[in-house]
Symmetry: C2
Subunit: 354 residues, 2 copies
């Protein structure tokens, strides 16, 4: 390895061994098979008895609810394909090194989630006028940053009442498997995955902004330890390619046969529709527009492809960069923040053409 | 981290991010949900069109066969629960450090595989008397140890004709997902997972022992680079516990409340039935027999439990060790070989009792 490559300690390895990423060749599937979708499990996967499980909806509401899984399934159902990405995706590439879940680029997936719209449930519960946020708490618990907690996050009332925010009991047509939040999870399209609380046990409307650890300390774009930072929220644009050719087992380096090579991938953004993907075969020195393909839905990634004709044999660095309708383009290199969040620098794939 | 802890490079991290391990709390399930079963994918997951896919059975046989997936499904079917473990499980714990897929302890899973007995297929193909081995080749290809190859492994004729060796198209009642070898894979109960070739494209009876890379170079217990070593074969005994209490996110260290704690886990061996599991709360200084529970099948792991009553608050190291009917017991510390294979040293879980 080059001397400037980062090294990872046993804490990081343990997290990488637990938390699954999508192998990049699986970007070929518009809907990611469930066992290939990325997973970030903060604590342990809880054991849940679906018969005794309840979702409590309370706090600043007129009509507190306690729903069984059958109650949830009896309400009107919707299905929404959603691309979800971990806020820490790309963390292994930031410098100085940030010690946490060390994602390279694989913390993403697209699934079709089926469940009930959150807005209708909050309306039925009679959300009070003075409610400012809605807190979602999971059954999973542990210690993070020295604080013992159940995993919990909040949305403002406006965010919670948005279209297509749902409580999902089904993924890709099957009941949620344990690792995806069985029996019920929140799904917030367009937001990084920390927002989509798994193993839901309660939804609580509150009159003051939620100050829980995962909201007030973690998941903030902090420039230093003293900086409060802005909250991490919508997914920044990213394009990924399926690395072409064949891999070396140990290094994952790619060997590509000369001749036209169809490069394919997916691109997504939570901040605006994808309007372009560019491809470079010289490490970002020159760029060409890729062809955009179909999207699996308005909250799902969009396919793209580029017919690359290698000019010669030898080493080159392939890159891709997405642009969204809000005017965002992926940067060439990672920016840094304390948590190593939202690093959407362009993907770089070293290949040897033969 | 302690100064004697290993560090891992980007090659190892990339492999850890691709290849999924089972989160240890998922040992609670007698049959591992498919998305939690460990995966070791040497190269890329191949894209397979099930309509044009064929399994070719040839070489030293009287009646070469070319089977479609429908042909496979039309034959008599069997279902077998099998505990499968990667030969590299525990590699992160060997010293000196071995650079490859850096499993901690999570490269295991138990699935119910459904398919056709291999023996019947080989009989129908008219295996020749002079055949000595049967070679299984996958559709996945890449470079390993400098050698370009399709992944391939062999069994002796005796091993291939054994009971319960099957060609599986279904796992836990569903068609194989891409990552588990769609549309058809070999499953060899009792053997480390490298034997159970995925994405099968051919089965070839040969008159000389197979000398392919994964058989003759990799997966051998070599004491030095010059040592040919014995082949890695049957799974050594291992017990794992579900780490009790709650975890710290970053370190995965456990905090356990005082009072009786039911420790639960699974134990397995490919070398003989599990006849005992021992538990220690003092790092292996003293041991007590755990209770053995049910097995999910003759090739599947066996549950075990132990009611631990912590003597005091503070730090302690929990261990478990399995024994099998062939007289094997897990060693207290890892032994070393060039490939870092078959390290079945006892699990050690640091906990703080409060």
């Amino acid at each position: 390895m080059a001397l400037d490559q980062p090294m990872f300690d046993l804490r990081e390895l343990q997290l990488a061994a637990r938390n699954h990423g999508v192998p990049l060749e699986a970007l070929r599937y518009p809907i990611t098979p469930v066992g290939l979708h990325y997973l970030l499990i903060h604590f342990d996967i809880p054991a849940v008895d679906p018969g005794s499980w309840r979702l409590d909806v309370g706090g600043a509401v007129g009509f507190p609810l306690s729903l069984s899984l059958d109650d949830v399934r009896a309400r009107p159902q919707v299905s929404v394909p959603v691309t979800m990405e971990c806020a820490g995706n790309g963390r292994a590439g930031v410098s100085p090194h940030v010690v946490s879940q060390p994602w390279v680029l694989e913390a993403v997936g697209t699934a079709e989630w089926t469940g009930i719209p959150l807005r209708g449930l909050l309306e039925d519960a009679g959300l009070a006028d003075e409610a400012v946020e809605v807190v979602f708490e999971g059954l999973d618990s542990g210690i993070d940053g020295g604080v013992e907690q159940h995993y919990a996050r909040s949305l403002t009332v406006g965010q919670a009442m948005a279209d297509d925010v749902l409580l999902a009991h089904t993924v890709n047509g099957d009941p949620l498997p344990p690792q995806h939040g069985f029996p019920l999870r929140l799904v917030v399209p367009g937001w990084y995955g920390m927002t989509s609380v798994k193993w839901l046990r309660s939804i609580t409307a509150v009159r003051e902004p939620f100050a829980g650890y995962q909201q007030a300390q973690a998941y903030r774009m902090r420039r230093s330890e003293d900086d409060d930072g802005e909250p991490v929220s919508l997914i920044a644009p990213r394009a990924l390619m399926i690395p072409p050719g064949i891999p070396d087992f140990l290094t994952r380096a790619r060997l590509v046969d000369r001749g036209p090579v169809r490069i394919e991938g997916r691109a997504w953004s939570g901040r605006g529709d994808i309007v372009g993907v560019e491809f470079s075969a010289d490490g970002g020195g020159s760029w060409a527009e890729a062809e955009l393909g179909e999207s699996a839905g308005r909250h799902a990634w969009r396919g793209w492809s580029y017919l690359w004709e290698p000019a010669a044999t030898g080493a080159c660095e392939l890159c891709c960069a997405a642009r969204d309708a809000a005017g965002n383009r992926q940067p060439p290199h990672a920016s840094w923040n304390v948590g190593g969040y939202a690093n959407n620098a362009v993907q770089r794939v070293a290949v040897a053409v033969r």
